[in-house]
Symmetry: C2
Subunit: 193 residues, 2 copies
């Protein structure tokens, strides 16, 4: 069994109750997805966090209590679903860096997962939010795979200028907080018409 420190998940759980300067990426994406669902534009949802259950207490019949469990290394991504009949799959990450996104924030299994997604005809990408800059980018998984391979022998991060050149900036708005489907329309679906 793989046990794993859970920095990211802990951040997610406490983030809203601690400092909340600027955009909360997960919250923005969840609200955006809810908007898409409410308006029946797309059906994209968050996957459960993978947890390895070790011990369960059955004292109360109504609700079995898990008394020992561990976060597992995620083998897939945070979000997937459907848009206009296409499979959509992505991971969302934040960084406080002003210049680059450190690739240690993404697990190798997740890169393999996204690589599988695009090879089998799905749309796979990452959304990276530079919290200090207040800028967000959508980067296709094909680019992520290249940067990840390069990191094995070279630079271990993706520079902001790479996001500017190869990615698509997402502007935050009041409704549709982070309307990434407008990029999907423009870059992935319109291209195929």
């Amino acid at each position: 069994m793989v046990k794993y420190p859970i920095k990211k998940t802990v951040m997610n759980q406490t983030r809203t109750s601690v400092s909340n300067r600027g955009m909360d990426l997960e919250q923005a994406i969840n609200e955006t997805n809810q908007y898409y669902i409410d308006n029946d534009l797309a059906y994209i949802y968050k996957k459960p966090i993978p947890i390895q259950v070790v011990k369960v207490d059955y004292e109360r019949r109504s609700a079995a209590k898990i008394s020992e469990a561990y976060y597992k290394v995620p083998s897939t991504t945070d979000y997937n679903g459907l848009y206009k009949g296409r499979y959509i799959d992505f991971e969302a990450k934040e960084t406080r860096s002003k210049t680059s996104f450190p690739l240690k924030n993404i697990h190798e299994h997740q890169v393999t997962h996204l690589s599988n997604v695009i090879r089998h005809g799905g749309i796979g990408f990452v959304i990276v939010h530079f919290t200090v800059l207040g800028r967000s980018f959508l980067l296709d998984a094909s680019h992520l795979v290249v940067f990840y391979e390069r990191a094995k022998s070279g630079r271990k991060s993706i520079e902001l200028s790479d996001f500017e050149a190869l990615g698509h900036e997402l502007k935050e708005a009041y409704v549709k907080r982070l309307d990434y489907l407008s990029v999907i329309d423009r870059v992935y679906i319109k291209r195929e018409d």
Copy 2:
């Protein structure tokens, strides 16, 4: 927070160690999916089980221990992924009944989920295994939705004869234990050519 008795999950965890007569449906599907992945035919995987984490101990830095958590009512299905560019999504269920599949085995959220999947252009279905009969069927989500609606005021199960008439029987084999993609090819994809 929704707490929920976990009959199904407990069954899954103990099933291999208890009686193992006949086919273990989850095991058969997992092996089939692995075959598809190994041969790069499709990329279909099991989603994590949704768990509500209440308390985490950080005593050891290397592995945060979850000391209180509960199984949540599943809002989606067990499996999803990609086949020939199409989104695939399904739930797998067993019943010991020889005559019908009780709909209490499926949660309303899961029916809504499958309904969303097919409305947005995905392929959604259930695989039901009649353990005593040793027979398995793939039933499209559109039929499940109808039976589920009917159950609110009428019969609360799907009869074996309904599976025979509206579903597609899956034959178990040595490799590709339960080759459901052959049905997808024949029924969903070929039809669209």
